[in-house]
């Protein structure tokens, strides 16, 4: 499910903006809409713990009921490891919800921050260090 961000999510958005520096230290994240984060829920298809940036492939059911893969780009493995996240933090089948910054183009892609991802039961994927 893809949702527009509600005011209650402003705090999450602020966390996202604050953490963006680490993610964009490699290159500009200008292709992602940092001004208008959205919430998505879905099932982890694959978590690629690769350089230069990790990739989270999330199966997301749209309002029309069609499931599409979303490609979410995150921080470098070297940054995530030092934030307490590993290649095993997410595995296929995990149900999560995340606040992400979508691609400006409208395609199924965006950027994610570890602190803005929670499992379905509300447990954070990682804790702030």
């Amino acid at each position: 499910m893809r949702l527009s961000l509600q005011p209650t999510c402003v705090l999450a958005g602020l966390v996202l903006v604050a953490a963006t520096g680490a993610a964009s230290a490699h290159h500009s994240f200008a292709m992602f809409d940092m001004e208008h984060p959205i919430e998505i829920s879905g099932t982890v298809k694959e978590f690629k713990f690769v350089s230069p940036h990790t990739l989270l492939i999330l199966q997301v059911k749209g309002d029309d009921g069609v499931v599409k893969d979303w490609t979410l780009e995150g921080g470098a493995p070297g940054i995530l490891v030092r934030e307490g996240m590993t290649a095993k933090s997410l595995k296929p089948g995990d149900e999560i919800k995340a606040t992400i910054n979508p691609l400006h183009s409208g395609a199924e892609g965006g950027s994610y921050q570890p602190l803005a991802i929670k499992f379905k039961d509300g447990t954070p994927v990682t804790q702030p260090k």
Binding site: H26, V50, H53, T71, E73, R82, L103, G109
Partner: protein, 280 residues
Amino acid sequence: MLFKSMICFIALGSAVIAGPAAAQQPFDESRYPAFAGQWQNTGRLGVFDQTKPPGRGQEAPLTPEYQAIFEANLAEVAKGGFGDDPVYNCIPEGMPRATTLVLPMEIVVTRNTTYVLMEYLSMLRRIYTDGRDFPTDEDPSWMGYSIGKWVDPDASGRYTALEVETRNLKNPRTFDPSGLPVHKDGETIVKERFYLDKDNPNILHDEITVYDHALTRPWTVLKNMKREPKPIWVESICGEGNVHVNIGGQHYMLNGDGELMPAMKDQPPPDLKHFNQTKK
């Protein structure tokens, strides 16, 4: 006669063996500052001047010509592009951008060369301290050619700092991910001074001055790093999973299946004129 010849031969042989050995004093590690270990950036990430915000906030002393180039780059970035930043395409950061230290670095001091091993993109700096001069016939490289000099200001026999000059740099490079430009002539000169904080030996400073024809004056910044007591290292190979590609001057993003996605709104698809597009 035979005896004299043998003595002469032995003496000569000893001289040949002892010559190079005598010229090389034992490497006394205690004479050098304790640079060994893992160093992490303590300032703002992704900017050249760690004390200032990115983009225009860096207040780089650009010439009017290069300010215009930077503004055009920012306009491209505002539309969702990468502008002039070459690193998204796995080009190494090069100098001086590598000193923004996205990920930690390690310093290894040896007799004639000090190595700076950077985790990010597996970049390597060799700083020659053997008294050599800059080569005149070497091809430029992104990390450049670095010559260092150990400094012993009070002649105590112990070095307190390493001064480094880096030249012979290859383009394309930028100061940081925002696309802050260096001059296209590739004549950037980077001068650095590495030294430990006088009050805390686990803090490393790198005072950097960049001389570049895109600048109206030399640009000096101070980088601060902390020593990580329990270092971990993570391999960083850019080609492993980079999803950003440039085709015909357009930046696109690959999805999880390796398919092309537009990165910017209303972006045209790539030109497929070299493909047989006969419908099946």
